[in-house]
């Protein structure tokens, strides 16, 4: 929907990717766009992710604003060379002469019983790269507003769309062209006892957990990170200063995840606010399993609740 709005209002916006045309994308995110805007502005590419990223760079450097789709985040890897070595640095390298106003959209995370490699959440690989913005929406409304912002941003934005969100119940979103701010976390629930930071699909479990916790008298503040890089440290630190406790929820494997950065920021700039050790509730440091076990891998409401209860019981 955000695609349509912006293509209508900005002739420089084009859409490329595998099966984005007649098929409208495997999650139907680009449905109807080719009919509306033609086969040049909405182009199926050959099956080649390095090519998708590379031609997006070439187009962007010559004045277009490509929205490029990677079919699943597990197929992002062939595109990383182009993204890291060029997309993230063309502006820097040429001192602002050539730029990359590109949005790379890709489904993120699991929980929909998809085949192997279709459930990855490897935002770390993108967040560590200087020159990229990494954004992940947690609801249809946020997807609309943040995607608009991403398309309008003059720099490359990696836009990670939670697969569980495509499947979740529909939410009415007004198609009003109103963008949400990038580089800003959103406080979804105010609370006094503990700060929980999460993003993307995990916001659902986190909100559910905070509701359960509220029933037992624990008042959690829930922060939707939204822009995963750069991190809005101020919002997080302000919250921790208030609550004194921090739990981070991430679907990705734990080791060197975005959650580690959040914990590090708190341990650097909010250490004396912390009344209890930080806790991370994350995917395990193992391969995202095939779907029979995926629910055991993805942090559950129970695991979040347990972690928060644990932190409330600290210090021992």
């Amino acid at each position: 929907m955000a695609h349509g709005w912006e293509m209508q209002h900005d002739p420089a916006v084009v859409v490329i990717g595998e099966d984005v045309g007649a098929n409208g994308g495997v999650f139907r995110a680009t449905q109807g766009l080719q009919q509306r805007f033609g086969a040049e502005r909405v182009q199926d590419t050959p099956l080649a992710e390095a090519a998708i990223a590379g031609i997006a760079i070439g187009m962007a450097a010559q004045g277009l604003k490509p929205i490029a789709e990677i079919q699943f985040m597990g197929f992002l890897y062939p595109a990383l060379d182009q993204i890291i070595n060029h997309m993230s640095r063309l502006r820097h390298r040429t001192r602002g002469r050539l730029t990359c106003p590109i949005v790379m959209r890709m489904p993120h995370g699991g929980g929909i019983h998809a085949p192997e490699h279709h459930s990855e959440s490897v935002e770390t690989l993108l967040c560590h790269v200087p020159g990229l913005r990494v954004v992940s929406p947690s609801s249809p409304a946020r997807a609309y507003g943040l995607l608009l912002a991403a398309i309008r941003d003059p720099d490359p934005v990696m836009f990670l769309e939670p697969t569980r969100l495509y499947r979740a119940s529909r939410q009415e979103v007004p198609d009003d062209g109103r963008a949400l701010p990038l580089d800003r976390a959103f406080v979804l629930r105010e609370g006094a006892d503990v700060t929980i930071v999460a993003w993307g699909a995990m916001i659902a479990e986190t909100l559910q957990a905070s509701a359960e916790l509220a029933d037992t008298g624990v008042d959690a503040e829930v922060i939707d990170l939204a822009t995963l890089s750069p991190i809005d440290a101020t919002t997080i630190l302000d919250s921790v200063a208030k609550t004194g406790r921090l739990v981070i929820v991430q679907e990705a494997a734990r080791n060197v995840g975005v959650g580690a950065e959040i914990a590090a920021i708190a341990a650097e700039d909010g250490l004396f606010d912390l009344l209890a050790p930080i806790r991370r509730v994350t995917g395990y440091d193992t391969v995202m399993p095939l779907h029979r076990l995926e629910r055991e891998y993805i942090p559950s409401v129970r695991r979040i609740v347990d972690a928060v209860r644990g932190t409330m019981a600290d210090p021992r």
Partner: protein
């Protein structure tokens, strides 16, 4: 301008859609028992495939990629290979895998979302299913390099789809295989579509066989609905590879009669008419006609065969459905030979949370 070098791409067909021989048949096709063996395998693959689709539709299997229409290509490849060769498939080569001894239970386990399905009890050295398009072609090249270094008379075979030929990894594999004269055969299964993208939108190359020329290796087209042609071309290529003659690319022209996977709806992007036309060329019918003309097949035998297939398949399905759910430990098993301490702690944590949250 002076001509430096010339190339041609040839096309092989041995069995036309009516079941008539074209040109001189290779020895195996003149052996009716061998033809029967292939026909039976093709029929079993189709029956199994239909069952798998059905299981998915009824919520008993995850997303599944049907091989409907690909049976001649799959069995032709399988029949040309030796047991000690290694196979690096994509995600659709059920026919070849069954031929090589991957069990139905294993196939169902995999698509049912269980890694144990990749622990093939039959072809122990074969590569597992491969979802990231084109990557498997490099594994085949690497395996072939191992065989070459150790002077073993073995070959590797990789399959790849028409869409897959757009990925850089595919060309890298062709090129390194050519440069080092590796004993590997690349079978391009051109079924006309890569999800919603037809071959003509995938490349300006009029054949996919000609992609071999970029690597300086031989490439040819075969009728991929003709199990004789596929097997003959693959056998010749394997022979050559085994003899030190290096790699070959074989493009098998077939058609994806099914949706891309059970998660796809092909009617969104292609016409029923096109599918109908393709169905007329499908591989089983012509093989059956060939056998019937040779007096080796009839409706009774067909019925018997189908019943036998159904029994085999039903037993495997029952076996599969009875397979116990893996424990959370399975997530950590085989991650490393020696699981690091911090991850051992996570294994314990996972056990603690197993079965919470309603699952």
């Amino acid at each position: 301008m002076r001509t430096v070098i010339e190339f041609r791409v040839e096309y092989l067909q041995r069995l036309d859609p009516d079941g008539n021989a074209v040109g001189e048949l290779p020895a195996f096709a003149r052996d009716p028992d061998e033809v029967l063996r292939m026909y039976r395998a093709m029929t079993l693959a189709r029956a199994f495939d239909a069952k798998a689709v059905n299981l998915q539709r009824t919520g008993q299997l995850g997303t599944y990629a049907s091989c409907l229409g690909h049976e001649a290509t799959h069995i032709g490849i399988g029949a040309a290979m030796r047991a000690e060769d290694v196979f690096a498939p994509v995600y659709r080569e059920v026919g070849t895998q069954l031929w090589r001894g991957v069990t139905m239970r294993e196939i169902l386990l995999y698509w049912g979302g269980d890694e144990r399905g990749n622990d093939f009890s039959g072809p122990r050295a074969d590569f597992p299913w491969c979802v990231p398009i084109a990557t498997q072609t490099l594994h085949a090249a690497g395996a072939a390099m191992a065989f070459k270094i150790r002077r073993e008379p073995r070959c590797a075979v990789a399959t790849i789809g028409d869409g897959g030929t757009s990925e850089g990894a595919f060309y890298e594999a062709l090129n390194v295989a050519g440069a080092r004269a590796l004993p590997v055969v690349f079978a391009v299964v051109n079924n006309g579509w890569a999800i919603s993208v037809p071959v003509a939108a995938q490349t300006a190359a009029r054949t996919l066989a000609q992609k071999a020329i970029a690597a300086g290796i031989p490439g040819l087209q075969v009728d991929g609905n003709d199990v004789f042609a596929v097997r003959e071309a693959m056998s010749a290529a394997l022979e050559r590879a085994r003899g030190g003659g290096g790699p070959t690319l074989v493009e098998a022209l077939t058609y994806r009669l099914s949706d891309h996977t059970t998660a796809d709806d092909a009617s969104r992007y292609r016409s029923a008419r096109e599918v109908d036309d393709a169905r007329a060329l499908e591989p089983l019918l012509r093989t059956r006609r060939f056998l019937e003309k040779a007096g080796r097949w009839n409706a009774d035998r067909e019925r018997e065969l189908l019943a036998e297939c159904a029994r085999t398949i039903d037993a495997a399905v029952a076996d599969h459905l009875a397979a116990p759910r893996p424990s959370t430990d399975a997530m950590f098993d085989h991650l490393f030979a020696n699981l690091p301490e911090r991850i051992r702690e996570q294994r314990i944590a996972a056990r603690r949370h197993a079965g919470t949250d309603g699952h």
